[in-house]
Symmetry: C2
Subunit: 344 residues, 2 copies
């Protein structure tokens, strides 16, 4: 394999002392070009291994049949599963997807958006990075006039389609369940408050705690990046409290795993001394011992709905996009980490 | 957000009754265009929200600063980690990556290649789908004259750069370890024989078994898709044998997890009745009980080397690509599933 530069129309034009427009027409068998010139152009094109540029034609038509997908990271069962389902629906309609990941970084997310706009995608389906507060790059997508659909991590301020689960109600469900298990001092290791979904979970936690007349101590509510490592740190912090919690609800499964490890290293009985509930239903929650209770986020349905929403916009390009919010009911999967044996 | 078609140079040209070339020149402040025309063009461009097309300029220069990455699936710690490390190295050099997944399907892999070539990537780094036997689409990449680098799943016949671990030696390492644990009847649930890495693992298994004078029964060697579900099926099949194996080496961790579940459902003592070794060192192998012994594939180093190999080609475009094979030594992580307590 050689690494010579791709052959362009200009290369062929230079050799034959023709204009690039004439070369382009010759390659398309345009009747305005003589048979002799066509033959010469095709011969040189073949010698230089010229590959006709389908993208150029997409540029003219304003349609690439590509949809860009931006995820915070691919290394998460939730995001992988959403992407998989977006892809299945879009492939059936003749679209291919290209994936970029922000790695939770604002800068990388901006790069991803530029990259996708550069490749002339017909639309973008995205879930925002943890770091993202400035919405300028998302406004850039909107100003291009292509559909933008957000899922899981969205922003009300953008006024675009959004598909996700009811985070506020999920927190209520978790607190109800822990109260039923007899827990009286429930801590929450939450995500960043500036991220809408995590803020909704925090609001749900606070309101549910108040509803049940339980203590809402500020020391029981911690903000976390929700990595496994930070889950460890925040759980260690909770264990130093004068009065320890008897339950911890953690807004992400990886952080819940880190927290569980700390509890086990400290020989604390889970769930009887401290009950634990995670969020996301990552497959490992059913594999570890004890298994971890968690919230199923319906990734398959989120992916399908996001893709369908894109297709609806494409089907009705003249209809002004109506704000479309699809909020799914989440489901609590109760496992050993919060299922007290004394009750069963 | 409206969904009107993207504004093109042609739209502006039509309104002003100019040629698209003149509009393009006006937007680039070309001296051959009058100030009056420039002003008119810029006014209409602004009204129609025209976005200058950076891609068109990339097409002229033959360089997009994008690298395409094709993985069988993103939902695997190994592939995610390789992609992450490719990205870190390439970002530092001003390249962005776009990811496509084949979902182990040959057809999807062909679509991925077409999509990436369409977006004018400057190179492709890929790991082949399980189904892929026909190499025609990979030849298409080579004929474009852009660097192609394969990792993990490659093909000798393509004669391109390849980064991976020593699969043949890994099998030897596993069999040695199981022999040391006193195992005498070692089964192998392997991948598809037509895939080079799995074929190398199978060859390594056979040669190591022969070397130790152990039985090489055909009923002990099964071909599998290596999904969790197929791992279950193949383990069930091994349990029906007249003489059961006392160890099973499985060429993928997800299949090993399925196999472990079957052993536990049948109340078989792991490792004392049947020892188990997986492949890939997925994080869950350290989380389940018993923990699963596995092969670490050095995904970080594979990703970095793949990216560096691409950069080397870009730095020396005039040097004909020399076949570059980087084979890393794998590492066996011994965990509870193959560590017999009677020996310790």
């Amino acid at each position: 394999m050689s690494n010579k530069k791709k052959t362009t129309l200009k290369d062929i034009a230079n050799i034959l002392k023709l204009s690039t427009a004439a070369v382009s027409k010759a390659l398309q068998d345009d009747s305005r070009i003589s048979a002799k010139t066509k033959e010469a152009v095709k011969k040189v094109a073949k010698e230089l291994n010229y590959q006709p540029n389908h993208l150029a034609s997409a540029l003219r038509k304003g349609k690439s049949n590509l949809v860009g997908v931006i995820v915070p990271r691919t290394n998460s069962n939730f995001f992988s599963s959403v992407v998989q389902n977006i892809e299945e629906v879009l492939n059936k309609d003749g679209y291919n997807i290209i994936i970029t990941q922000s790695n939770e970084s604002y800068k990388k997310e901006c790069d991803s958006i530029d990259t996708l706009l550069f490749t002339q995608v017909d639309g973008i389906i995205a879930s925002m990075a943890n770091e993202t507060i400035n919405l300028e790059y998302y406004e850039k997508i909107k100003s291009r006039g292509i559909p933008l659909i957000l899922f899981d991590r969205g922003e009300n301020d953008l006024n675009v389609d959004y598909i996700g689960i009811d985070d506020y109600a999920s927190s209520h469900m978790i607190v109800e369940h822990l109260v039923e298990q007899g827990c009286k001092r429930i801590a929450h290791i939450g995500g960043y408050q500036h991220t809408r979904i995590f803020n909704n979970r925090i609001r749900g936690y606070k309101d549910a705690i108040k509803k049940h007349g339980l203590p809402l101590d500020s020391e029981l509510l911690l903000e976390s990046s929700l990595t496994q490592e930070d889950g460890r740190k925040k759980m260690e912090q909770l264990l130093t409290l004068g009065t320890r919690p008897d339950a911890v609800y953690i807004a992400g499964d990886y952080a819940a795993l880190g927290a569980l490890q700390v509890l086990q290293e400290n020989a604390i009985d889970v769930p009887n001394e401290i009950a634990l509930v995670g969020f996301g239903n990552e497959p490992f929650t059913a594999m570890v011992s004890p298994t971890i209770s968690s919230i199923e986020q319906h990734s398959m349905e989120i992916g399908r709905l996001a893709a369908q929403t894109f297709l609806e916009h494409v089907a009705s390009p003249d209809v002004k996009q109506t704000l479309n919010k699809k909020i799914l009911n989440a489901e609590l999967i109760v496992r050993d980490s919060s299922n007290k044996k004394s009750l069963s």
